[in-house]
Amino acid sequence: MDNLIALLIAAPLLGAAVLLCGGRRLDKIGHWLGTLLAASSFVIGLVLFADMLGRSADDRAMYQHLFSWIPVGGFQADIAFQLDQLSMTFVLLITGVGTLIHVYSIGYMEHDERRRRFFGYLNLFVAAMLLLVLADNYLLLYFGWEGVGLASYLLIGFWQHKPSAATAAKKAFLVNRVGDIGLSIAIMLMFTTFGTFAFGPVLESAGETSEGKLTAIGLMLLLAACGKSAQVPLQSWLGDAMEGPTPVSALIHAATMVTAGVYLIVRSADIFNAAPDAQLVVTVVGAVTLLFGAIVGCAKDDIKKALAGSTMSQIGYMILAAGLGPIGYAFAIMHLVTHGFFKAGLFLGAGSVMHGMNDEVDMRKYGGLRKYMPVTFVTFGLGYLAIIGFPGLSGFFSKDKIIEAAFAKGGTEGWILGAVTLLGAAITAYYMTRVMLMTFFGEKRWQPDAEGREPHPHESPKSMTIPMVLLAFGSVFAGGVFGIGDRFVTWLEPVTAFEHGHPPISAGAITSATVAVMVIGVGIAYLQYGRRPVPVVAPRGSLLTRAARRDLLQDDFNHAVFVTGGTHLTRSLVYVDHSLVDGVVNGTAAGVGGLSGRLRKLQNGYVRSYAVSMFGGTAVLIAATLLMRAV
């Protein structure tokens, strides 16, 4: 059974290879092939899952060693897989949601002439993501980590003819690379500290080294997580990444890839447990991003960017939970899974709306769509209820646990974190209600698109609605299935040690508070967007709104410091290279040239002139000989 693990990755990888190298011949069947291979990977995942459930809790991890990858001296990196409960959760999420989104894309990308390539990239992504979560060492994880980065780059920039898409893709890759520095330094630190970077040995012996070193490793891992999971300060790429096709946003930039940072932190739990300082930084990053994303999400009029802000915020929740230690790991992952369902559903819904609205993304130009797109409306609505934490739906279970765990952190920190998470819940309710109202309720504010076509909203084809429905099921029930009776926690416990947190106030009170803030958020949004007509042109807004529309000026800061500064730096270096480094050499050459120009005058071409120098030379030789004899 262990040997099936490689097949999990092999299936989509094969799909990617065939689809990308196959050429135009496969245009007709490419999308079916890609979907089939993704689905087969899901089936293999299910088989392995069934096998895993059949074993005792401590014996569930499976290993497969393929071959030695980089054996150099003490540096031994292997292509080897480890499938434990944590990885299994991810495998099912990735392949399951991945397959649904494949199916969805068949309809969504129907009119795109490069659909085959799109499916190739999607398969590549699934393979890389599986590699990431199945790796049994950090270097192989890094392989998958960069692999998903590449797939993300390719898919964000899928519509390359749009300069904005190409720029967004590049930006995503570059910002991720900054995070990757963290991961590679972390691996190097592990190698110098432990002599290896395989999960097992490193995590087992994590306690044996100094806390300072572990803090350093932890912070570097956090940097990596920030890059991949769009956490402050490396969050700027996620909003732009919405330039990619909507299924991509759903799969990569909502459900799976962006949660890789959470996986990394939870996977490295033993390191973080032994480094409280690093943990504190993790929670702070999570808390800041949580609010940051939520605020940005409130101000965006672009439906996908609003959802992107929401994603950032929700991942902030997960990172925060992961930073809480054993009381939070399981909930981080649980929220990750439920978020995977409802956020993917929301994105697919958004895609369905755009599909019907001539690819319009500005919510101010929607309105009243619920009659025209009933299925989309219902599924989107269920996702909406899930994300704001409506009692009984999946988001409620997972988010509530995180808020509880935040309070349970204890001390002043616990109160602050708890307050932040509650505030975040309120803002979540606010901006999601805003999205809901602006899109499906109110008056029609439809505008003809740039080419003058009037929108004719219609329900999307079956291939798109079925995945949405399935995801909506997940959004509704997943939380209950996982949360009731701590099933999910028990499942994950062998991997991520679990402790029950003890919040200073009762769990019931926290739950009530959660529901209360949610209602407040919804209420304010209703007052602003439900009761009053929504202007088609965005009002100027307050200072905060304007800043939030610009991603809280973070991009402007990046632009001013890194882009402008970097441009000046490179320009001056090019100048230095040309004038100074090369100038010294060319100056020497010019000097020699000048000197030889003078000397050349001696070479006048007259034989007699040369004869004089020969004769003079002979005289000098004789003089020298005589002198030597004299001495």
Binding site: N604, Y606, R608, S609, V612, F615, G616, T618, A619, I622, A623, L626, R629
Partner: protein, 278 residues
């Protein structure tokens, strides 16, 4: 013979050295200072003959004779022959064209000479073994040389033979121009002239006057300037065309002068001139 072995020479030899040595130096100086190559060659020949005498005085009888026969006789004649070929009357301008050449040459020459003299003076050259014994060993100078040439230096001698052959072949190769195409016949030349359309008739003859009995005097055009065409190209290239136009014009003028004096026209002319100036 025995005198050759002495530290000092006989008075006769000393006298001969000082007189002929002076002649040799003068000859050498004239060689490098004479404007015309033919004069240089003659001066050099003089120096060489003096040197031949010195060889004889030094006991090198064979070389003395060879010097006269081969050098003065053959090589210098070769020189003269080439001088003739190039133009015997052509005189070099002794004006220096390369800046500083003469000064450098003088300085180097002076320095070199002083150094050589110093070197010879410095060397302990008081022992003169003389050639009496060496010459007598094989019964004479020529025999002695022959014995050396055909034993010790036989290889060098043979190689010298090869060198001479090579030199003569080389000289032939250098001066001989291979005719790459058939010589054109008179008819062809005539046709070419017609085709090119210039100088259909024969070239004009040089202007031969009674006092210039030579082909190097160009014929004069009606305006008194010399015509290049009338002189053969070789002389033209050598720059040996004697330009007599000035002379001829002056003669003409003098003739007119004389005839006008005789006819008493000069007074009228003077008057005309005064009027013109007024």
């Amino acid at each position: 013979m025995s005198a050759l072995a002495a530290y000092t020479t006989s008075t006769g030899e000393a006298f001969q050295f000082w007189v002929l040595g002076t002649v040799a130096v003068i000859g050498a100086l004239c060689t490098i200072l004479m404007k015309k190559a033919v004069h240089s060659a003659l001066c050099l020949a003089g120096t060489m003959i003096v040197l031949a005498v010195f060889y004889l005085a030094n006991g090198a009888y064979f070389l003395g004779i060879v010097q006269i026969v081969v050098y003065t006789g053959a090589i210098m004649m070769l020189f003269l022959f080439v001088v003739m070929l190039v133009g015997v009357t052509a005189a070099d301008s002794l004006k220096e064209t390369i800046k500083g050449q003469r000064w450098w040459a003088a300085a180097c020459g002076l320095g070199f000479g002083v150094l050589l003299f110093a070197g010879i003076g410095n060397a302990a050259l008081t022992e003169f073994a003389g050639l009496g014994a060496a010459n007598a060993a094989h019964g004479g100078n020529v025999e002695g040389l022959a014995a050396l040439i055909f034993t010790k230096y036989v290889f060098a001698f043979e190689i010298t033979g090869a060198l001479l052959i090579t030199a003569s072949v080389g000289a032939m190769l250098l001066t001989h121009r291979e005719r790459t195409e058939r010589a054109r016949t008179q008819r062809e030349l005539a046709e070419q002239r017609v085709r090119e359309g210039k100088h259909l008739p024969p070239l004009p003859a040089p202007g031969v006057y009674a006092r210039h009995n030579a082909v190097d005097v160009p014929g004069l055009l009606p305006d008194g300037t010399p015509s290049e065409l009338t002189v053969i190209s070789t002389l033209r290239q050598r720059g040996q065309v004697r330009d007599v136009s000035g002379e001829a014009l002056a003669d003409l003028k003098a003739l007119e002068q004389r005839s006008s004096e005789r006819l008493g026209r000069d007074r009228d002319e003077a008057r005309d001139g005064e009027e013109a100036s007024r």
